[in-house]
Structures are given as C-alpha cells and as structure tokens.
Symmetry: C2
C-alpha cells in the first residue's frame, strides 16, 4: 500500500531497540482516511476466506480492525485488557507480553461474541514478535472458532513474528514490511 | 438515529445502577456499519463548526471518534490511558473517574498532536456523568486548543453530564438519549 509506505517514510521515526514511532497517523493520532484505505486493502486480501468476524486487541488494533471489518461488512470484536462490569462471569482469558508497555497484559473476550462456527480474521496494527496475535489466536481457539487469516498494517520482519505464527497455517498479510531498523534507519520493502 | 435506537431496543440490557450493556454492537463487539452511520450522523451535526481535529479517550471512544473523523476528513487523537514509550517526556495529563472500572484513570495526550490553533470536536461513546469528557476538555484547554463541540453515541440524561458540560458553552449532540433506567427498563426518547 503505497500511501502507507510514503507516510512511514515521511513521518516514521526509529526510536531504537526496534521501536517505530508512527503515532502521528497510526496509534495516538490516527489519519482515518489512510486507515480506511488500509482496511480496504486488508479486506481485499482476505475477502475470499469467508471470515464472519474480525478479532483484535485493544487499543491500537481497534482502528485497523474496525476499518477492515467495515470493508468486509462483518462485526469486529476487540479483546479487552481489563474485564468490564458488563462482561459475564466466565470469559476467555489469555496473557501476552507488551513490547511497548514492558509488562504482561491480559486479554478478555466474552463467550457471547466468539464461539464455534465463527471464522475469524485476526487484525492488529503491528506484527512484531507475534505474541499479541498468538494470544488472540489462543482466545479464538479456546472459543472453538476457526482462524482463517492474520492481517497487520506494519510488519517488522526482524522480530520474527511471521515464523512464530506459521504453525497456525493461515495466510499472513501486512501492508508495509520493515526489514531492519539497525543503525537508526527504517529499511522498508 | 433510528437504526441505533432500534439496536438499543433489541440488544441493550439494563444491568442496574445505570449500567447499560451494549457490548454486542458498541464497546466489545462493534457493528462497523452501524458505527460508520453513527460517525456520519455526528459529523453532519458538527460539519459547520470548522473542527480540524477529533479528540477522544481510549478505549470505547475510538470507534465512534474514528468514524466521525473519517466522515469529516480530519485526524482523530485518542488520549492514552497509559503513557507509551513512543510519547515524549512532557505531555498533557488529566485524570477522570471511570464508572465502569471503579477507579481513577489517567489520560495522556502528546503536545505533538494538540495545541493552539486546533479546533477540537470531543467524541465519546457515552455521555453519562460527563467526567471523561470534562477531562478531555481540560486536556484540550491545557494545550491551548479551542473546543467547538461535544458528540456522543448514547447519552444517559439522568446522570447529569449535559449540565456538567454546559459551562463549556459548546453544542452537545447525542444520537440516542436514555431518560431513565429505573425499574429495569430502558426509557429512550
């Protein structure tokens, strides 16, 4: 997706230790038209797989997942990091380490909205180590749902997430691929 | 917005103590097409005010704020509840009590994305006591931005938020208005 790559080139900043600052258009301030285009682009790559639900993790996954779900015309479920009082007693729960928060986060999904018969597309803003997406996959599997694909806006291949997710045996698509962030550069495909 | 009201009538549940469960289409599972329509409806009510930015609070504000910003063609900033490592040292910070979490939450906005010259539309999923939106207003004011309007998807008038926000002197618009949740009912305008 050329508009996304151009934006990363113009505004992305390499903060070191593999951290890419894109919070002017992805995860603090969001450019909704760029995100809508990203949603359409992700939807186009998965439209043949028959997903009936998108699953993501709050917080930064919400914008791309919502736009992808909108383009596909299917609901999106965002796994909550805290269990709100509106959620039933028994829920699906997983944990994942957060790279940008430096701690373990919990993810909760209500069995009201995910279960056997669901064909789930996992969407997130970043594919880095893949650990958040692995936690989403475990949530989907615990519910009995079938995972049909994984899509992210930006993939950092040097963190190995694609390999970590390979055993799921589903297509993995990213709209921009960063090969390396060594030496202060952003080396993008 | 009739589609929204119909959905609240069909799926909304009164959990008592003023808590409205709408997590099948608003804040855990989201219906993106309904949310897109809500975004268009909110945008239409504010289009004449010249907002150049939408400001919301993560988490549940993101979906309606993103769709409103998309309809207006302007960026959306979501105030973060934890300060990520991509944020600069000096930030705008406010606190607000969370009704559904039972604790005080912090809200952070980077001065990179909000400042004098910005005309800000505050968007959230709910207007209840108004305390989250007051915190967003203080963030906007601290940055030197001008607040031009407040829009929410669902307003619970019996919690007094509209009065609490009146001193801001800006238009307040909600797409569905709940007058009372006494006796287990959902009394909607």
């Amino acid at each position: 997706m050329e508009a996304l790559k151009a934006r990363i080139r113009a505004e992305g900043r390499n903060l070191g230790r593999g951290i890419l600052k894109v919070d002017s258009f992805i995860n603090h301030q969001v450019d909704p038209l760029l995100m809508q285009e990203a949603g359409h682009a992700l939807a186009a790559r998965f439209t043949h797989l028959g997903a009936n639900k998108v699953l993501t993790a709050e917080i930064s996954g919400i914008a791309p997942a919502l736009m992808t779900a909108c383009a596909l015309g299917i609901p999106v479920v965002f796994a909550r990091k805290a269990k709100p009082i509106t959620m039933p007693e028994t829920v699906f729960r997983e944990t994942a380490p957060s790279h940008t928060k430096g701690r373990i986060v919990e993810l909760f999904v209500s069995p009201e909205f995910l279960g056997p018969g669901d064909c789930v597309l996992l969407i997130d803003d970043f594919l880095a180590s893949g650990q958040t997406i692995q936690a989403l996959a475990r949530l989907a599997q615990a519910s009995g749902a079938t995972i049909v694909g994984i899509g992210t806006v930006i993939e950092k291949t040097f963190e190995g997430g694609r390999d970590a997710l390979a055993s799921l045996g589903v297509p993995i698509e990213s709209l921009a691929i960063i090969r390396s962030m060594d030496d202060g550069y952003i080396d993008m495909e």
